[in-house]
Structures are given as C-alpha cells and as structure tokens.
Symmetry: C2
Subunit: 265 residues, 2 copies
C-alpha cells in the first residue's frame, strides 16, 4: 500500500503553532519521522485556521523540501494554493483533492498534467456524497472520463470513495469497500483507489482499533493507497501483515522488521 502520512496538518496544534511561529523544526521532524515509519508520501495541509493559506503552504513546502524529496500530497480546497504547492513540490506530487463535479475536474485534471502530478478525485459532486456504492462509481467514472479526455493517464487518477464516520452512518464502510472493488473495472489501466482513513473513526471511542480494522478490510478489497497516521505502530503492523496476506510482499519470519528497515533505509 502506498502510505501517505497525515501528520503535517494545521489541524494538529503543534503544526499550527510551528506555522504561526515560522519554526521549521517540528515540521521537518514530522517529515523525517513519518518517512522512517513507512510513509511514501507526505500530506501537507495548512489547516483551517491559517490566516494566509498561500503563504503558509509556501512556507510548509519549502521547510519540508529542506529535508526530503519525497512526494507531497498538497491538501487544500483553494486552486491557487494548490498550484503554488505543486510548483514548489516538483513533479510527482499529488493533488488532494478535486471533487467529482465537472467544474472541478476541468480545473484540476489540467493542473495534474501541467505539474506531472497525480490527482485524488473524491466521489462527491454538486449533489453531495452518494448514498451507495453505485453512486460512488458513477462519479468515479466521470473522473476517469475527464482524465481520458484531457490526457491524464488513468493510473495517475486516485479515486477516494469518501469514508464517513461509522458512528454517523453504518452502511457507508460497506459501500466504500464495494466502490473500491468496482472502480478497478472502470478503465485499463484502472484508476488507483485511496482513502482518508481516519475519518472512519471520527468521534468514536476506539479510534485506533476502528482505523486499523477498516484499513485491513479496504486492503482486502484492493485499495492501493491511504492517507494514514503512519506513526501508529499497530496500524502499520496491520497494514504490513495485510500486504503479506495479499501476496504483495514476501514472507520472512521478521517481515515487520524487514518492512521497517526498508522504509528507514
């Protein structure tokens, strides 16, 4: 699984403080720690409270780029902040994210092509979040069609079928699994699938248990990538073990250590 580390997000107090004080060390520490724990890309989100989101994104990306060339997932709803983040990140970045309505796809698909980025497309559109798996697949198909039409390789499209908290809507986790399976049939090469995992446990009392259980379920359904807390050791153990059981990694008695050694090296 392609693990995108979720921790550089202004929603977390330490990150918000670092941005405000322009103190790069906590940010650079989080970048290094997450990569060492197995992140293959880093999500970068200035948070809801940033007074100047454009300046904050510029500062964050530059601070991270001083310590790593890892791909960054630029996480913003503002097109001008996205553009600047992609510019500073360089090729191989991830647009996180576009909604599935045509106007947004018309903005972000060309932006993904221009900056050699991948594009996360949410299965949300002007009508909101679909109630079932079919509704999710229909929006995904629209995103695939937009990618094909404009010339973005379909495997640079990452469909996020939008998981919601299990305590808010219990049928959704099942619908999302079904959507992950069916999205794979939409094109050749198929789009990638991705989830913002932690949302499934928002507001519950067993966040880590719910996160790692659902991650394993989504991996069994064929999910390719997820935005996760890579610093959660039990979550990563579950992920590494699920990959092994899906025959995506070779068994060795020390498979957990082997994964981490390879991530750290």
């Amino acid at each position: 699984m392609y693990a995108i580390g979720e921790r550089i997000n202004g929603m977390f107090r330490a990150v918000a403080a670092a941005i405000k004080e322009q103190n790069p060390e906590p940010i650079q520490g989080l970048a290094r720690e997450q990569l060492k724990a197995g992140a293959q890309a880093l999500d970068v989100n200035v948070g809801p409270a940033a007074a100047e989101p454009l300046a904050a994104m510029e500062w964050l990306v530059k601070a991270i780029r001083e310590v790593t060339d890892a791909p960054l997932a630029i996480d913003t709803t503002k097109p001008e902040v996205m553009r600047r983040g992609l510019e500073l990140s360089g090729p191989g970045a991830i647009i996180n994210s576009a909604k599935g309505q045509q106007e947004q796809l018309d903005v972000y698909v060309p932006m993904a092509i221009e900056y050699e980025a991948s594009l996360i497309a949410l299965t949300i559109d002007e009508n909101g979040i679909p109630r079932d798996a079919n509704g999710r697949s229909e929006i995904a198909l629209r995103a695939v069609a937009a990618a094909m039409e404009k010339g973005l390789p379909t495997d640079r499209l990452m469909i996020d079928a939008v998981i919601l908290p299990v305590n808010v809507t219990q049928p959704t986790p099942g619908h999302v699994l079904e959507a992950i399976r069916s999205v794979k049939l939409l094109s050749d090469p198929p789009p990638k699938t991705v989830l913002g995992l932690s949302n499934v446990s928002q507001g519950t009392t067993q966040r880590e248990l719910i996160n790692r259980t659902y991650l394993v379920m989504a991996l069994a359904a064929g999910m390719d990538a997820a935005i996760v807390d890579v610093l959660d050791t039990e979550l990563m153990d579950a992920m590494i073990t699920a990959e092994l059981l899906m025959n995506r990694a070779v068994y060795a008695d020390d498979f957990l250590k082997a994964y981490r050694a390879s991530a750290a090296g």
Copy 2:
C-alpha cells in the same frame, strides 16, 4: 460472525491430560470460558494421540453437556466417532468435517440430515487441495449439489475453503478470499462459509497478528463463521469491530463491552 471456539482439542496438552485422567474440570472450564468470551459453538476434538477416540469423544461430549447446551462441532475424521458425538450432542451440532469427494459426501450429508446437524465441507478432494479459487469453488459446488440431491438445506452446509500457512504458500490467502466470495453465488439460500483460522499462521513468528488480520480480511469477503481462539482478546476485538464496520452490529460507544456482555449473558 458465528464463532466456534477451538480450544477443546487434544492437541493442547492440558486437554490431552484431562482426557487421559478423565478429569472433567479443565474441559468444563474451557467450555464456560469460551462461551463467555463470545463462542457460539464449541469445537470438540480428542486430538491425534487419543488411544481410544470413540471413548474419548463420548467422555468429552458428556463432560461438556454437564455445563452447557451450546452447539458442538464434532471434529474427527472417523465416521463412527462422528456419529456417536452427534448422537450425544443432540440436534444443532456441526459435523467438522467432510472432504469434498463424493464418497465422503455420501456418508456425511445423510448423517447431517439424520442428526439435524450442519455440515462443514472442506474444498479438498481425491486430488488434494486445489491450487486456486476456481478449484475450490468447483468442489464447493459438488458439496452443494450433494446437499440439494439428498435434501440437506443448503444453508446448513458450511464450505471451508481450506486456508494454508502463509509461510508455506503465499497466494493461498488471496485464493481463499476469492473462494469465499464466489461460494455465495452457488445456491439460494447460499451455503455458509467457514475457516479453521489458526492454520493461516502455523509456523510463523507473528501468529496472533496474522490470525486477526486475516480474520478481518475474510469477514470483509463475507465469511460467516470461523473456528478461532475466542480467548484471544485482540482477535475478538478485531472480529467485533469488523462486524460493526460490515453493519452487522449496531454502533454504540461501548460496542466492545456490549458484545461481551451479550455473550456472557
């Protein structure tokens, strides 16, 4: 998930000793503990070393029946031991198990009807364990056909797609998941699906982690039942959480406690 407790098995030293000494207390303790931990049925296996398997099975079932009426899964390869175990267990028992070749189905399907039992049919036949999911489904179809022909309701048939240790054959866990999904399409009502879970981790260094990760994957694929170590708390936490995420149990903040309270009561 229908949890069948695996611990009353002569393979475990304490159980073998209790059988040998005709000491019912350890057996009755295991019966009570497993039911309290969430088992809905108890597997009963005299173990490979029992000198007189028929007498051992009689003694075991009688000892268990002194403390509980819970369904028993009579786990033996010997038809005469099976018959006696079913007789003493009473209606609602589980035959564990028949292989998928016609001669065995011809013996055990009528036995399931006679004793009002369910029947676990392994996807193994005279040619051994199939190499892929299709081979497993073909044998399952043979078992479904035998059930239909002889009049065993197809939902009293439990297909066990035979998991093997992940360190021996890494493609098998994926094949078994695929078989679990496809077996559901064989009849209406569909057969149930079941696994002897612990086999997936045999000989590995991370048995509990592998067991609970694969259990969650199998549940996401639609598995109905499993023979598991219900005394493994983390395994049961994973199972309870997966059921919640599959919308088979209602969310409450104390969903783990709620499950256990209901099991204990």
